[in-house]
């Protein structure tokens, strides 16, 4: 993938992350209204950060950069983690059924899917969600921890491990796709070069054959010996050049199998990718 393409993918990931925060936080805000004393500011802050970042990304989307996209991604998720840190304390303290750290678990999976192809950013963001949840868990007093499901904090840890695995897998797959694209581009270029060699060889062969025949005819004409000798030497050099070209063509991977081959057309159209009949 070209650098510009990679930046655009990173940009889209950052935009998706900000958009999810912007759309998902109001749900948390609504749920939090049933919790006594739940402050609104963490969610509002998270939404504002997401909104500002999304606007900035939209304004600058004509000039995407991986570095900016990574910074936005990190900042947006840090705001979400901060918001979850505060609100989870109220959920835990309230005597209502609560499955802990659901948003953190969803967060690590979203990170695995949306993080720009940047290992430190991805791992740091997963660590933020996971560390935020685990630290928060240990800040709860014994009474609260006793009320929480026994699966915590291990469930959160398992989600984090899975998210890290998915993230690394995604990066490796992307790298493999890029390598395949690169290899395909190289093959295309090689095929095009081979095709051009074939066209040049094709155009040169008949004139060479004509010269060869005429040199032999001239050799029988008295007094032409020095001229014929020069022609033969020149022809020998052309033969050598022809052999090199033929070896290049025969040594190349199978060239596009063409049903018909017009050398002049090939050379004229050689700016375009070679036709494929596969």
């Amino acid at each position: 993938m070209k650098p510009h393409g990679a930046a655009r993918v990173a940009w889209q990931g950052a935009m998706a992350s900000a958009l999810l925060s912007l759309l998902g936080t109001p749900i948390d805000l609504l749920m939090g209204r049933s919790i006594p004393g739940m402050p609104m500011w963490p969610d509002v802050l998270s939404m504002c950060v997401a909104g500002v970042l999304l606007a900035w990304l939209l304004v600058r989307q004509g000039r995407p950069s991986e570095r900016s996209a990574s910074a936005v991604f990190l900042l947006n998720n840090a705001a979400v983690v901060l918001s979850l840190w505060v609100t989870s304390g109220y959920y835990a303290a309230a005597h209502v059924p609560w499955v802990p750290f659901q948003a953190n678990k969803l967060g690590v999976l979203a990170v695995a899917m949306l993080t720009p192809a940047n290992v430190p950013v991805g791992i740091t963001t997963i660590a933020l969600y996971t560390g935020g949840a685990l630290l928060r868990y240990w800040t709860f007093d014994h009474g609260i921890r006793g009320r929480l499901p026994a699966s915590e904090p291990w469930a959160m840890t398992v989600f984090a491990v899975f998210a890290a695995f998915l993230f690394v897998y995604r990066l490796r797959r992307k790298a493999l796709e890029q390598a395949l694209l690169h290899a395909q581009a190289e093959t295309d270029a090689l095929e095009l070069t081979t095709l051009r060699f074939m066209a040049i060889q094709d155009l040169a062969n008949t004139p060479l054959q004509t010269l060869e025949a005429n040199a032999a005819i001239l050799a029988d004409v008295p007094g032409t010996e020095p001229y014929v000798a020069r022609m033969r030497r020149a022809l020998a050099r052309l033969h050598e050049w022809h052999r090199i070209l033929r070896d290049e063509i025969d040594g190349a991977p199978p060239s596009p199998p063409l049903a018909s081959f017009d050398a002049k057309t090939v050379l004229r159209d050689s700016q375009r990718p070679p036709p494929r009949f596969r």
Partner: protein, 128 residues
């Protein structure tokens, strides 16, 4: 000019090539060993008719121009009319070109790569 065909009384070798300079040069060269007729296209070969079919050898350019019948078509025309001579295909194409690969599968043919030496061409005419 592509339709040119030159008839002579008792031809021994027929040469088919779409390049007129090449064709005339081949005629002048091969005439030293055999009586030679030339055709610059498939249609010109048909005009030669029996004169071409009675030859003991044919030297045929495998590619007679884009969109035109190829040297393979010439070969089939000759064989279908009981041409008993040897056929040499002259080719400037790479070994894995479809026409060359098709020619290689034909019966009793010799494939000569362009540019062939004058000696090689004369030898073919002599032994044919």
């Amino acid at each position: 000019m592509l339709g040119v065909a030159q008839k002579v009384a008792t031809a021994e070798v027929v040469v088919v090539d779409d390049d007129l300079d090449m064709l005339e040069s081949m005629r002048d060269l091969l005439t030293r060993r055999a009586v030679c007729v030339v055709a610059a296209s498939y249609d010109a070969l048909l005009d030669l008719g029996e004169q071409a079919l009675s030859c003991r050898a044919a030297i045929v350019d495998i590619n007679l121009g884009p969109g035109r019948p190829s040297g393979i078509d010439v070969y089939r025309w000759l064989r279908e009319r009981n041409f008993r001579g040897r056929v040499a295909f002259l080719t400037g194409h790479a070994q894995h070109h479809p026409l060359v690969e098709e020619a290689r599968r034909l019966h009793n043919v010799l494939i000569i790569e362009k540019p062939a030496t004058a000696e090689a061409l004369l030898r073919f005419v002599e032994v044919a």
